[in-house]
């Protein structure tokens, strides 16, 4: 009797213990990610991470929200410098050359398949390649889009379903939409706002609309003062200084709330704030292509997923699993709905929930449709400095402190000096 009970106890214990998998293999991944637009996206990302961790009991992704794009890049650089790069991270796409220069990332050729890559929109892949290798997988990708307040359009006698499609129309509409205080002449409502903060990105789009570009990464050219670029900046200055229908300065974070509060009738901003505007606006609004000149034009934006250099193979593979998870057509579609970013894969738009959603909310298709006119975002080594140089030139010109030509000429001189060695190769 005694032996039997001992045996059954032992059996019970063995069964019990085998029910708990031994997790000696738990792979922990540090994951740095930014949130570059308004909206509770950090929470959304945490949900995704939780789902992944639940699906993969032997991998634990530790998400570290790292602020905006700039602070995130700074944190990545600090970690890399300290010899401890994050396993997987998202940074702004134009940082690729800097990441390469710092030897901070792993090439992803061994993980991707042609089939996988061909499903991504080509414009989004452009910023993932360098020297024939693929380094970054598109995740939170966007183009700038054009938002307009339909109620204001009606008020001003404009057709609310017809946004401006050319620069000239934009100027004309902006003049009609700007509301000024009758006594002081002060602007109470701006006709159009070309958002500051990433106004360099928006400027790149205007230059594309005018048929030119600023930097060609593959060809290693950088021309900031081409006639087309000067003309684009002159157009901006016309709006801010001569006609006073656009504010000369603003921040990336302040303009969507401004639009929602009705302080500006038309807005240039990322498609990534679409969900925020949808949730907050108390009026009918439209989303459309950026008005063009020679043609429609835009440069893509956003962040790619990268894997840190030098991490152990098992973490690399786990990191790739995570990247795969985040970039399935279903997840890409879901992320697009949750944020407004463009789903990075063509097949994402065929996922049933997505089809239904975009039928009800066609605004979510605008940025995707604009992709046919979009090019990769400009990038170069020392990109942060390049950005600052361009932004300063833009800010000074739109404030009327210097002429567009002088501003861009000076920018060109600085760029030549900064990128000298890179340009000559």
């Amino acid at each position: 009797m005694k032996r039997k009970s001992i045996l059954s106890m032992a059996l019970l214990l063995v069964v019990l213990f085998s029910a708990f998998p031994v997790n000696a293999q738990l792979v922990r991944l540090t994951y740095y990610y930014p949130v570059g637009v308004a909206g509770p996206l950090a929470r959304v990302m945490n949900e995704y991470v939780e789902e992944f961790n639940a699906l993969h009991p032997n991998i634990e992704v530790v998400p570290v929200y790292s602020g905006d794009y700039d602070p995130t890049m700074q944190k990545v650089q600090t970690a890399v410098r300290g010899g401890n790069p994050p396993d997987v991270f998202i940074v702004e796409i134009s940082e690729l050359p800097t990441l390469l220069a710092m030897n901070a990332i792993e090439p992803l050729d061994e993980f991707v398949t042609d089939e996988f890559l061909s499903d991504f929109f080509p414009a989004f892949l452009e910023n993932g390649y360098s020297d024939g290798h693929i380094w970054g997988i598109p995740f939170q990708r966007s183009t700038p889009v054009f938002y307009w307040n339909k109620a204001h359009f009606e008020e001003a006698g404009l057709d609310p379903e017809k946004p401006p499609t050319t620069w000239d129309e934009l100027r004309e509409y902006a003049e009609k939409l700007t509301v000024r205080d009758p006594q002081t002449g002060e602007v109470i409502r701006w006709g159009v706002t070309i958002s500051g903060g990433w106004n360099d990105w928006l400027f790149q789009c205007f230059v594309r609309q005018n048929g030119s570009k600023l930097i060609d990464y593959q060809e290693r050219t950088a021309v900031f003062n081409s006639p087309e670029a000067v003309e684009a900046l002159e157009f901006w200055v016309d709006l801010t200084q001569n006609l006073k229908v656009a504010p000369p300065h603003s921040t990336w974070a302040s303009t969507p709330p401004d639009f929602v509060a009705g302080r500006t009738s038309m807005l240039y901003h990322s498609t990534g704030v679409l969900t925020f505007i949808m949730d907050s606006a108390q009026f009918d609004f439209g989303v459309g292509f950026l008005p063009g000149k020679v043609s429609y034009g835009a440069e893509v934006g956003g962040g790619n997923l990268f894997i840190g250099k030098g991490i152990p193979q098992e973490r690399k593979e786990a990191a790739w699993k995570f990247i795969e998870f985040l970039t399935t057509p279903e997840m890409a579609a879901r992320w697009s709905r949750d944020s407004g970013y463009v789903a990075t894969r063509k097949s994402a738009y065929e996922v049933p929930e997505m089809v239904e959603y975009t039928n009800e909310n066609p605004e979510y298709l605008v940025a995707r449709d604009q992709l046919q006119y979009a090019a990769g975002k400009m990038m170069s080594p020392a990109f942060q400095r390049v950005r600052e140089i361009l932004k300063t030139a833009l800010d000074e010109a739109t404030a009327g402190r210097t002429t567009p030509k002088a501003a861009l000429d000076q920018a060109q001189t600085q760029i030549n000096r900064l990128l000298g060695q890179w340009l000559q190769q």
Binding site: R43, V64, S66, G67, D68, T78, A79, A253, P257, F276
Partner: protein, 292 residues
């Protein structure tokens, strides 16, 4: 050496002047009330905003008293970021800094006040100069050094540059100097000298200075920003000020009620302590400026 008692002269130096111009005490009070109102306004407005619902923020005229009151913002702030953890980290760092500061201060102040040795003036000058070279001035090399020491992204990194304090040494030296020689001689006869003398006799006698310095140190390092920004990354090590900065980026100007709630929360601990122990805080900061 003047003591710290508050002696207000019977006739304020300006009283006669004011009476001459025709300004009387009422006018002074009015001016002071106005100034106080202006200085209090920002914080009170933030507090008011933090208790509102998001839609009620965009009113034509400012509504100082929120109606209806919304306590949910504070709950939401806690949900969005681990502010409790940030609070714990801040306390750990602040206490860690103060504890070692007192150690380094007391030994150095003892040497400078009671012992005579060559080069003491020059060495003391090094301490004085340090007061004017806060970590902000040398952030780049300090960062590189902490990196080389392998301390990046640790709470230790947040404490280490502050452990030596020229200011504290200076204050404590003043205080120690006031203990008469006789004390020391008597103690030495009893066999108490050196470190024992320092810790069992000098330090207790310098208690007011220590308390004053502690309050100043706590307030200063509770509110550190630049240094933590540069040497810490991960949430596990973040302090309250860092948490606020991150939170601001997360909310990016979209929801002022949440932003103000976070700001009020981050400032609340010190503020509450200050309101309760006003006298002590004010005395401490005042005594710091008196040089004998």
């Amino acid at each position: 050496m003047k003591s710290n008692t508050q002696q207000t002269p019977k006739f304020g130096p300006l009283e006669k002047a004011f009476r001459f111009i025709g300004v009387n005490r009422i006018h002074i009070h009015i001016l002071l009330i106005l100034v106080s109102g202006v200085t209090l306004a920002p914080y009170l407005w933030a507090l008011s905003t933090s208790l509102k619902y998001r839609v009620n923020v965009f009113t034509e005229t400012p509504q100082w008293i929120p109606n209806p009151v919304n306590l949910g913002n504070y709950k939401e702030v806690f949900r969005m970021a681990p502010f409790g953890l940030y609070l714990v980290n801040t306390i750990v760092v602040v206490v860690g800094i103060l504890a070692i500061q007192i150690l380094t201060m007391s030994t150095a102040a003892y040497a400078f006040s009671r012992l005579r040795f060559r080069g003491s003036e020059g060495l003391f000058f090094l301490f004085i100069v340090q007061m004017m070279l806060p970590v902000h001035a040398t952030i780049v090399p300090n960062y590189l050094i902490v990196n080389k020491l392998g301390l990046l992204d640790s709470r230790l990194a947040l404490m280490v540059p502050f452990w030596a304090t020229g200011y504290g040494t200076f204050l404590l030296r003043q205080s120690f100097r006031q203990v008469p020689r006789d004390f020391e001689d008597a103690a030495m006869i009893d066999g108490c000298s050196g470190l024992r003398f320092l810790y069992s006799i000098l330090l207790p006698m310098a208690k007011p200075t220590l308390v004053a310095f502690s309050l100043i140190s706590i307030v200063t390092h509770w509110n550190d920003f630049f240094w933590p920004l540069v040497v810490t990354d991960s949430p596990a090590v973040r302090t309250l000020t860092m948490g606020l900065a991150m939170f601001v980026q997360q909310e990016s100007g979209a929801d002022w009620t949440l932003l103000m709630a976070a700001t009020i929360f981050v400032t609340a601990p010190l503020m509450v302590l200050f309101l309760i122990y006003q006298r002590k805080f004010i005395e401490s900061f005042m005594s710091a400026g008196i040089k004998g």
